[in-house]
Amino acid sequence: MIRKYIIKNKKGVFGISVLFLFGLIAVLAPYLATRNPWESFKPNLGISKEHLLGTDLLGRDVFSQLIWGSRISLLVGVGSAAGILIFGSLVGLASALSSPFMDEILMRFTDIILYIPKLPLLIFLAMMLGRGFLNVVLVMIFTMWPQTARIIRSEVLSLKQRPFVEAVKVLGVGTFGLVKILIPHILPLLLASLTNLTIWAVVYEASLSFLGLGDPSVITWGTMLYYAHVSGVIFIGNYIPIVAPGLCITIFGVGMHYLASAIQDVYAQRTRLWKPF
């Protein structure tokens, strides 16, 4: 139902295409990558037929790294974002729909986590849990869920006041039914958060890698950025190892953003208050 309308919207088409494209690249990585991303060739080559985007300072094929790197980047990005969203929404919904007392308790708990500084917490947890990208995902979920919980809670609280929600309560709908009814209404918010969180996750993953807390045994767009920076390849004049992954992150972010925007547009059309002139 809503999908029909997104296709009509240009922004939505762009967003979905980007998502689809990157998803496809990630899935078909073994077939698309021309070379083994770990193998060292002649370092610092420019664009050529052999190496589509050249090589970095260690001689690794940039194009192949990009292709393979999309897998982990997307996994980490979308996975963390999804995890944050799910956990945050659950807490937010529970808080908004339960008794004021329960609401207070949940919110205080959320606040506590919220007030702990992010990066130190990230570092601490990463150190505790050790290396490995799954841990990176867990760490990010744990630090970011309170933000989502607050946003969802305030949205649901305001939705609760709307006449159509009161109407369904008067009709006799129970709490579970109410949640089912409310979810499409918080969807635009969730999707908007999703884009922010995904980009955040990808960048933070790079930060962690940068600090040596990531997983050095995997290649992601973030680690590509790290290595490009650390190896100082730009000083030699080879910009490709930085521009390529950076561009990928950007395009992906823009695509997600437009998708969320398109969904918000559809939602706005439906709920548009037609004020009499």
């Binding site: 809503i2 159509f164 009709l171 939602y267 037609w274």
Partner: protein
């Protein structure tokens, strides 16, 4: 009207007993608290097959009273009885039965419908909730409901934003009626409808009442509309009922505030008559002492400032809360 000793349970749907609904308001310090006394000691019986007009301006408490009856507001004191049981003690099967019996129509028909759903989904929701699952039956009932409010079956596929205000209100009425309730609380159903179309909605409500023997609690600030529709009128001011009368006695309002409301609607009455009543509606946070209306009343006497007038029966079925008639 007042708490009878022998309430006829076969005829009464709901009994409101000394209901108080207060909303706490926190002032600047954490300790200072005021209460907005939206409904302050109101008692009434809602009987079968009768249209009640609940009139008041904003701040009178009429909307809060209506909402309390459908359990959207919790009583601070007093109780509302349905089938001899306190509303908030109903559980499970009884609660579901209450929901089938008492429904509500809201003021803003657009806001009262789920904008992401088709008319069909909006209408069929109550059926799902009350365990009607057969698809054919649901379809049949929805089309029947639409026909009752004089809309063609093809409206089922439309979305609320595609309809006009009058059509949306009809859908809300259809939704309220689909379970054949005994009482519908209508909160300002005609306020957002064009003047040229109010008549149709009123006519519809009356027709449906005759057909399904539903009672209505018609809440409005438009006294002239409510008058034509109701069999019994209740006028509220700042949380209290100030007059009750049947519409045969309409026009013979006794309470000064009721008279004021009547005059207000009628532009042929010169300004001077109305402007004698001074002031504006006081805040419900700090209502005046004694008779709530005394600060504006041209007939006020010293006793009006200190004591609250009780609701007395001046003729059969006509009650007034005013010392002029005590």
């Amino acid at each position: 009207m007042l708490q009878k000793i022998d309430v006829d349970y076969n005829n009464t749907i709901l009994d409101v007993v000394h209901l108080k609904v207060y909303f706490p308001v926190r002032k600047w310090g954490p300790f200072k608290r005021g209460y907005v006394k939206a409904v302050d000691d109101v008692s009434l019986s809602v009987e079968k097959n009768k249209i009640y007009g609940l009139i008041g301006e904003s701040g009178s408490g009429k909307t809060t009273l209506g909402r309390a009856i459908v359990m959207l507001e919790r009583p601070t004191d007093g109780k509302i009885l349905f089938m001899r049981k306190n509303l908030w003690e109903l559980k499970g099967h009884d609660l579901k039965y209450f929901r089938r019996s008492v429904q509500m129509i809201f003021q803003d028909p657009f806001a009262a419908l789920n904008p992401l759903w088709t008319v069909f989904k909006n209408l069929s929701l109550p059926l799902f909730i009350h365990d009607i699952t057969d698809k054919k039956e649901i379809q049949r009932l929805c089309i029947q409901a639409l026909t009752e409010v004089k809309l063609a079956p093809h409206y089922l596929e439309k979305f609320p934003h595609e309809l006009s205000g009058g059509e949306r209100q009809r859908i809300c009425i259809a939704r309220a009626l689909i379970l054949k309730p005994r009482l519908i609380v209508a909160d300002e159903p005609t306020s957002m409808i064009d003047a040229s179309l109010k008549g149709d909605i009123c006519k519809l409500l009356v027709e449906l009442k005759e057909k399904y023997n539903t009672s209505y609690l018609f809440i409005s600030h438009e006294i002239n509309v409510a008058q034509k529709l109701s069999e019994q009128m209740l006028i509220m001011y700042l949380g209290k009922i100030v007059e009750v009368l049947t519409t045969h006695q309409a026009g013979k309002y006794l309470h000064p505030y009721s008279k004021l409301l009547m005059y207000g609607m009628d532009y042929s009455i010169p300004d001077e008559v109305i402007l004698r009543f001074k002031g504006e509606i006081p805040s419900a946070l700090t209502p005046p002492s004694g008779c709530r209306f005394h600060t504006r009343c041209i007939y006020a006497t010293p006793i009006c400032t200190t004591q609250e007038p009780p609701l007395v029966e001046v003729e059969p079925g006509h009650f007034v809360a005013c010392f002029l008639y005590d």
